[in-house]
């Protein structure tokens, strides 16, 4: 059975992909720093403080999260992994997007010319419902279908 959620479109697009879920804030620097430094072929989450996603492959995934946390370089690190082709395909926020993530996805879109589809304000229920490994379909108008 699938469930449908509706959020606000920050950067729109259509996509079907696999979810990676974190219920605590995503620390972009801690999660992606190692892969970016090594210019790795896959972005493996290196944030040891986030047990839920530590060690998980984030490359091309749909990250479901409340918000991002940590260093103000976070947005720039997101740009870096996107440029390397190992960034997430989409970011789905249960809350209002924070300034670090907003800058990251927008700068990536404008300066790296790669889109990380971004929807925010999907609500707490979304984050409670979605599980890592599930297939998610995102539509241009901000509809998110968790299958």
């Amino acid at each position: 059975m699938s469930k449908e959620f509706k959020g606000r479109v920050v950067l729109g697009g259509n996509l079907k992909g696999e979810a990676v879920v974190t219920h605590s804030g995503l620390n972009i620097l801690a999660s992606f720093q190692r892969s970016a430094l090594k210019k790795a072929k896959r972005a493996i989450c290196a944030d040891q403080n986030n047990e839920e996603i530590y060690g998980k492959d984030l490359t091309g995934k749909i990250i479901c999260l409340p918000k991002t946390i940590g260093s103000t370089t976070g947005g720039m690190v997101l740009e870096s992994v996107a440029k390397l082709g190992i960034g997430p395909a989409a970011m789905l926020f249960s809350e209002h997007i924070d300034s670090l993530a907003a800058a990251g996805v927008i700068l990536t879109d404008v300066w790296v010319n790669k889109r990380i589809i971004t929807i925010d304000q999907l609500g707490e229920e979304f984050l409670e419902y979605v599980k890592t490994g599930q297939t998610i379909e995102i539509k241009e108008d901000g509809t998110v279908i968790v299958e």
Binding site: T72, G75, S99, A103, T108, V110, W111
Partner: protein, 427 residues
Amino acid sequence: MKYKMELTQEEREILEGKHGETLQKVMKSVVLYGETFGARRLVNLDGPVHLVTSFGIPILEPVFDMMDELIRNGLETEKKFTVDPRPLDYENVKANLIQKFVFKIMYGKQKEYEEQLKAVGLKDDKAFTCACYLPEVGNIPKKGDVLAWAESSAVVYANSVLGARTNRNSGIIELLSGIIGKTPEFGLLTDEGRMATWLIEVKTSRLPNAQVLGSAIGMKVVEDVPYIVGLDRFLGEGISDDTSDYLKDMGAASASNGAVGLYHVENITPEAVEKGRELLKEGYKTYVIDDAEIDRIIKSYPVMWKNENAKPRLCFIGCPHLSLNQLYDWTDKISRELQKKGQSKVKIRTILSAPPDVIEKFKKDNRAYERLMSTGTKLTYICPLMYMNNPICSKQPVITNSNKLRTYTTSRFYLDDEILEKIVKGY
């Protein structure tokens, strides 16, 4: 592309690419960022920007590419800007071979990046500090000035102590805002966004440690605006040098232990002096801080050292950077404590960190500088946080009086008196 924001003719033309592709990208980034937060228009900046990204860390490759593109197209900020501290100073903050190897990788692009900063509008070679608003540095906004800053400790100081108006911007957005000379109007730029939703009642028996008070407030209100009462009993009314130092450290702790971008202090900060409790929004929440709460907060800090009983190897004082007043004060405190114990040098490597302009002025007072140097204490301009944030340095048992440094690194927090005792005794 259709934008929701009300834009001027010139802004629309820039977005259409009539002033070149790069300026179009600059404008588009700022407008999209503003729209995400519901901004209705862009407003002119009254003062220079202050950048948070001061380090040439190779993973920020897209930033270096963007800087190159800005430079190629002759774009720079309208006003000369300041930037956060440099990460390294081997003369005063020694590093062993392994640490130097790590730093070489981490900050491998430092020289090139500093050249890029100069080309896009950096004020001068000494403009590297998180406390750009200090008189010696000179990036001092006036009350009501609209800014686009990103360094959290500088943002909260500019908003609260100086009464200027800036959001807690992300890195790079502040630079791009400086280039177009405009910032999106939302949040802390609006009267509504500057209203307090928390009343903080300070009921302690004496002036609480600024770093702990800020930490308590930050952890409680997170990103909301607090209105603080009860501090004027200890600090007096208005803002003296000592009060601005206190508020600087309190604000930095509230911004790092939470995400506070603005606080009001009754009878002290400019907007609170002007409007008083009218700044409190209907339905505000209350948080009482007494002696027991201060003790509870201190005890709640986790110790991140592998061995809790390890002998401290390094002590950092000055995160955020020390003011000239604080530099004199620490020189005096360290010298007196050593004298009291009949010692001449500190037993733990102790590093005071201050803006290059403050250090330059302090050094001109030969007697005070020699007095500090004779204690064995080092004086630097680096960002202790950037020194600590790597797997090698983070393994060292480092002590600090900074709640910001404690939050972002493995360093251990102590109150000023405890720090003094430890650096003199050596344990």
